[in-house]
Amino acid sequence: MSEQATGNGALVDIRGVEKVFRRGAEDIQVLKDLNLEVPAGEFLALMGPSGSGKSTLLNLIGGLDHPTRGTVSIAGERIDQLSDHRLAAWRARHVGFVFQLYNLLPVLTAERNVELPLLLTHLSKAERRAHVATALAAVGLEHRAKHYPRQLSGGEQQRAGIARGIVTDPTLLLCDEPTGDLDRKAGDEILGLLQALNREHGKTIIMVTHDPHASARASRTVYLNKGQLTREPND
């Protein structure tokens, strides 16, 4: 899948990416000469052992960090060279994030949390409210709109997180271990929800997980190992 072919219109196109972290005097090479193409409408699972660089890769795709070398193109736009300021605006327009932790601000209700990305748009208050209602309905949380995160179960919190991730109708939904903190049942519900978003609404999703059960729901799974992607798990 990850041939060195020229740009074929893949939504996510990563070429020759290298990521080196400097810790003190020591250089840690996390990704090296990594290539990845994700076509629009795919639900990709990214697996690999802890510390293998999954989050690092996801952050590069989401424009949260710059690669040390190589190119990251999303929907035909090179984002690896954008300034921090341009990247922030780019993220607001194109990416929805769902994290394992810190998903919701505890001081805001579910609907106010979901509204956050819309504050960065030019939508009116009424329009924002309508979008929030749609997103909450899509994750089946409309009856919890006025609840604070502490009043929600883990699964409900994560659903609110997904609602926030999709409320701007982003190009890409990036999930970093979205079920990592949930029990099996709640986790299954979240996976079902992501699957539905992908199948019924055509959302392109990239999900980091180390749970084979989770990756089974994806349309494709890739493995990160020693800084490179493979199609098979590599002991």
Binding site: A89, Y102, L116, L119
Partner: protein, 384 residues
């Protein structure tokens, strides 16, 4: 404004901490209000009229007297437009705690020297024709419910009459108003010719002179010339701007202005630390949340603004509440029963207070805001 909800929610995160911080800001600004009013009371007479008026007093101390004949000599000095004198009477009406000033003056000269004292023409006429006549400011007239035509007995602590009695009686012939808000309308003025003739000692001697400087002359140079004129006489003088003189009076009670300024400095320094600590703690606690906002697409500038808005909201809220409370508390006027006739919280100090609250917000929010701005998203989301 759509971010207001978010800013407000962040302040409510730890309600107790926010309320305590808010309270300490409020207290600081109430204190500021009181101290402003006290400072106003001690230095208020200074500004407007005082600029071209000088006070000439005995070099050794204010309680030593000067000859009445100095007036003619002063008016010959280049740069002096006119001179007139007052004398400290030190009188008490009914209760020594109900302090107000009463001085003998030469009516025409006095009124000309002090255009800020507004007296109706017929009352002025009455004063010029009544030897025992006295005029009193609106505040004191209302305080003792004096009306024109009243006879008021004043017990002097310094001056006795020829019959040895210290009890003097005056006829109220006028009630004057102040032209400006900071014109003192508590004193009483009566006629020097009556006083000089009736007093037992000190005839021909007066307390101090007020000198009007010609518009073209420099007050500081005129002051030097006046003091030079009387150098090596048995009554050497010390000449100061009127404002300096008022403050010198205040120094009799202690250097309150300096004390209040130091208290204020200490209070605001403490408030700076308290508020700064609250904001930076609150920012540190939510590194993850701030990282999330950045991931969502909040720009560096927006992060900076968000934290600054939070600290400014807290500081300005505290400032407005504190200044408002101080305004209310000082609006009843002089709490000392007469010692501080110009006691009020001046509008310019209220505005300065507001500016200070904004500055407090900016200063305390700046470092946490920069911290939030520099936060690297990927890092902030890593840790648990």
């Amino acid at each position: 404004m759509k971010f207001l909800h978010l800013i407000w929610a962040n302040l409510r995160r730890k309600k107790t901490r926010t309320v305590l911080t808010l309270l300490s800001i409020v207290v600081a600004f109430v204190l500021y209000g009181f101290l402003s009013a006290i400072k106003q009371a001690l230095t208020g007479g200074v500004s407007l009229e005082g600029a071209n008026r000088l006070i000439v007093r005995h070099k050794v101390s204010i309680i030593q007297l000067l000859p009445e004949s100095y007036k003619q000599r002063m008016e010959k000095i280049p740069g002096v437009a006119s001179a007139t004198h007052q004398t400290w009477f030190g009188g008490i009406y009914q209760d020594p705690k109900k302090f107000f000033m009463q001085n003998p003056v030469v009516p025409e000269e006095f009124l000309k020297m002090h255009p800020e004292i507004i007296l109706a023409p017929e009352q002025r006429q009455a004063w010029l024709t009544t030897r025992t006549g006295a005029i009193v400011g609106r505040k004191t007239a209302e305080r003792f419910e004096w009306k024109i035509g009243d006879k008021v007995p004043i017990q002097s602590s310094i001056w006795s009459k020829k019959d040895g009695s210290y009890l003097w009686e005056f006829d109220i012939v006028g009630i004057f108003e102040g032209r400006d808000k900071n014109t003192d309308t508590t004193p009483m003025f009566f006629r020097y010719d009556f006083f000089d003739e009736a007093r037992r000692g000190g005839t021909g001697q007066v307390g101090w002179y007020t000198v009007r400087v010609q518009d073209t002359a420099r007050p500081a140079e005129v002051a030097k010339l006046v003091d030079a004129e009387f150098e090596n006489s048995s009554y050497e003088t010390k000449t100061e701007a009127e404002g300096a003189f008022v403050q010198a009076w205040a120094k009799q009670i202690g250097d309150i202005a300096l004390i209040t300024a130091s208290i204020l400095g200490a209070v605001f320094f403490t408030i700076l630390l308290v508020t700064g600590n609250t904001i930076s703690q609150s920012v540190r606690e939510r590194t993850g949340e701030l990282g999330l906002l950045k991931a969502i697409g909040f720009t560096n500038a927006q992060m900076l603004a968000l934290v600054l808005a939070e600290s400014c909201l807290l500081a300005v809220l505290g400032g407005v509440l504190g200044l408002g409370a101080a305004w209310l508390l000082t609006s009843h006027g002089d709490p000392t029963g007469g010692m501080l006739p110009l006691y009020f919280f001046p509008a310019r100090d209220v505005l300065a207070g507001l500016a200070m609250s904004v500055a407090l917000g900016l200063v305390t929010g700046l470092f946490p805001a920069l911290q939030a701005m520099r936060l690297r998203v990927a890092d902030s989301l890593r840790r648990i």
